[in-house]
């Protein structure tokens, strides 16, 4: 399942000129926020120097520490935040050069975002149908009114909400958490997108419905060539759908590679810690992370050196001086750690 050849099926074929460039690529993407006021003003490094590539028809999972910058990356990619520095390339073209309304609309249609918090991202003043129909009108103007309605019902049903007609008539506050979450997902599907930025799209869903949505992602990837940035804390689900897995810690991508390879052969000590903590409901709680206090990483005015050094069991002198950068350590598998060893 992981062996998707990249350029074989360009989804709609209209991007002929840039077909060799990845669908989306970031170079040294960085976003800082000011925190505190007046004299105690400091800089919070939410995302630092992130190079991330998403190919056509690829599902890239992004997992990692809470507060490590995953949503910030998604928001940068969606154009909700502007980068402090660095660049995003869409089909080879820097998004900063997409100035016209037409370009921006096309980009937002191609790359919709599903927000992490469905309680604040759906407009409470409008029925569910409103947002879906509106984005259909905006991004697929060729559809007639009747076709739009039909299409809206189709996407609502695709995310397991039924009866679609009833759900479409409701206001967001008339839905449960998991139902709202799926409305957000349905809205993104309506666009006929190329890449969906899905920020924790299944966190409020029970396993059964969750699997339905994951299967839907795989299916869309296969049949319509849609790519996904799938942000999740559920590592098992990342393994289930994703081709590639990237792990974030304190604003950096610290490891990335084919999902199976990262899981079977983690290179970064944080990845190790994370995988060790993935609980197995059938087994008793193990003591794998006993003693790890889950201390918040220091991303406010960080000094050079590895950001994981205060928690790292393998720390060496160099870790206090130099910030490690990603190194290739296996087939398409890289990690940012001074002591991580390449595959034999």
């Amino acid at each position: 399942m992981t062996d998707v050849s990249v350029d074989s099926k360009s989804s709609t074929g209209q991007d002929s000129g840039a077909s060799t460039a990845p669908l989306l690529e970031t170079k040294k993407l960085t976003r800082h926020f000011r925190v505190g006021r007046g004299l105690s003003r400091q800089m919070l490094h939410a995302v630092d120097d992130v190079d991330l590539t998403i190919d056509r028809q690829e599902i890239v999972a992004l997992a990692g520490e809470s507060g490590s910058g995953k949503s910030t990356i998604a928001r940068l990619l969606a154009g909700v935040y502007q980068p402090t520095s660095g660049e995003i390339y869409y089909q080879g073209r820097p998004t900063s050069s997409m100035r016209s309304r037409k370009d921006q609309l096309a980009y937002r249609g191609d790359v919709p975002m599903v927000f992490q918090d469905p309680f604040s991202s759906l407009n409470p003043a409008f029925r569910v149908s409103h947002g879906i129909l509106r984005s259909l009108k905006l991004h697929r103007p060729e559809l007639t009114r009747a076709q739009r309605l039909e299409e809206a019902e189709r996407v609502v049903e695709a995310v397991g909400l039924s009866p679609a007609g009833d759900i479409m008539h409701r206001y967001p506050y008339e839905l449960s958490g998991g139902q709202r979450q799926r409305v957000g997902f349905a809205q993104a599907l309506a666009h006929k997108p190329k890449l969906i930025l899905a920020d924790e799209p299944v966190s409020m869903l029970d396993v059964s419905i969750r699997i339905g949505l994951l299967n839907l992602m795989s299916e869309l990837r296969e049949t319509e060539g849609v790519s996904f940035l799938y942000i999740t804390h559920d590592i098992a689900s990342a393994r289930y759908v994703a081709d590639r897995l990237a792990i974030m810690y304190a604003g950096h991508i610290v490891e990335s590679g084919p999902a199976e390879s990262v899981l079977a052969n983690p290179k970064h000590p944080y990845t190790d810690l994370l995988l060790g903590a993935v609980p197995d409901p059938r087994a008793p709680l193990t003591a794998a992370v006993e003693g790890d206090t889950g201390e918040p990483p220091k991303v406010i005015d960080p000094t050079p050196g590895c950001r994981f050094r205060w928690r790292c069991p393998l720390v060496v002198d160099e870790c206090h001086q130099t910030t490690p950068t990603l190194r290739i350590l296996g087939t398409n598998h890289e990690a940012a750690c001074h002591v991580a060893e390449p595959d034999a």
């Binding site: 809470s66 604040s120 039924s162 008339e174 139902q179 409020m204 029970d206 289930y240 810690l273």
Partner: protein, 332 residues
């Protein structure tokens, strides 16, 4: 344990959303006892009524939702009959609530710290000045974020801020609705271990809704499984995990992917969630149940005792002649 009397007694609780046409019965005759120091997990399909149940217990429902039957007693007092002023005095101090949406529960135009101060000010109880920083550290957030506004925090940080707030005055009961769904597993586990330790020290009760079966399996004493507004299974967590008596619970336990072993295609529980305005006849799970038989669409099952567990399934009805130990391979 201070007394044998449960700290929370929910009896026959029913909650309806008045939709104009047929009401949505989101909570249907639910009974629940929670003792001091006990940890009760609540699981069930998205939309089955878990949040509504918690809101009803905490008296936080607003129209069109209303309690149409039953009672909620907390420390012997009837919460349903209590006026808002008395409830406000209990909330945060005697019981606290962590809602599913931290973003909805927090005030967007106030810093976290000032919201903590507001909660403290509204009660006469004295709280140390450094308590806010202390609870923030407890949940793994740098206290510098007391000065942050909700939108400046990540999803998981907001959730932890809510939990920190619930711990401001060590209450006797904490109600939590998916409080860790935005946390990575390392932070989640360290937070849960902390809550569990605090609970053992201080003896408060926890009612905890989650979709995460592993959280339940490791931390809860009692487990309640809901389906379509009803309790379909209740018992000691270990007993339910080892021998789920209801086909829905069994399906739920079988459905999750793993990070180890061979990768298998999964299908979940087939079929669609029921419409709560018009639930299926008989057993509400019958259209999706892999072991349904001819009585299931006709007879409404009650909660039957199955060893140490209670289950709402006709296979366990007294005198049932169907083979009562089916349900081995639900998903295959």
């Amino acid at each position: 344990m201070p007394s044998q009397q449960p700290i929370l007694e929910v009896r026959d609780l029913t909650v309806e959303y008045d939709t104009g046409s047929s009401p949505v019965v989101a909570v249907d005759s639910v009974d629940l006892d929670v003792h001091a120091g006990e940890f009760v997990g609540v699981v069930g399909e998205s939309g089955c009524g878990k949040s509504t149940l918690l809101f009803a217990i905490a008296q936080l429902l607003s129209p069109p939702a209303a309690i149409t039957g039953g009672s909620v007693h907390f420390q012997g007092q009837d919460l349903v009959a209590m006026n808002e002023k008395k409830l406000a005095a209990l909330r945060w101090r005697d019981y606290s609530v962590v809602m599913q949406s931290a973003m909805n529960a927090l005030n967007p135009v106030k810093s976290i710290g000032s919201q903590f101060r507001d909660a403290i000010m509204s009660h006469d109880e004295r709280v140390d000045d450094d308590r806010p920083a202390e609870v923030m550290r407890m949940v793994g957030i740098d206290p510098i974020h007391l000065r942050s506004y909700p939108h400046q925090l990540s999803g998981g940080m907001r959730q932890r801020a809510m939990i920190a707030m619930a711990l401001l005055f060590t209450p006797d009961m904490i109600i939590m609705d998916e409080p860790t769904s935005a946390l990575d597993v390392v932070a989640q586990r360290s937070l849960m271990v902390q809550i569990k330790e605090l609970q053992q020290q201080l003896g408060f009760a926890v009612v905890f809704v989650t979709h995460d079966m592993s959280l339940v399996s490791h931390f809860s004493d009692q487990l309640m499984v809901m389906y379509a507004g009803q309790v379909v299974e209740f018992g000691a967590t270990r007993a339910v995990f080892d021998h789920p008596a209801h086909p829905y619970s069994k399906g739920l336990l079988d459905a999750f992917p793993s990070i180890r072993g061979p990768k298998q295609p999964l299908t979940g529980i087939p079929g669609t969630p029921p419409n709560l305005a018009h639930p299926p006849s008989g057993c509400r799970f019958h259209p999706r149940c892999p072991v349904a038989f001819e009585d299931c669409p006709k007879i409404e099952p009650e909660l039957y005792q199955v060893g140490p567990i209670q289950a709402r399934c006709l296979l366990h009805a007294p005198g049932q002649t169907q083979p009562a130990e089916p349900v081995q391979e639900v998903t295959s």
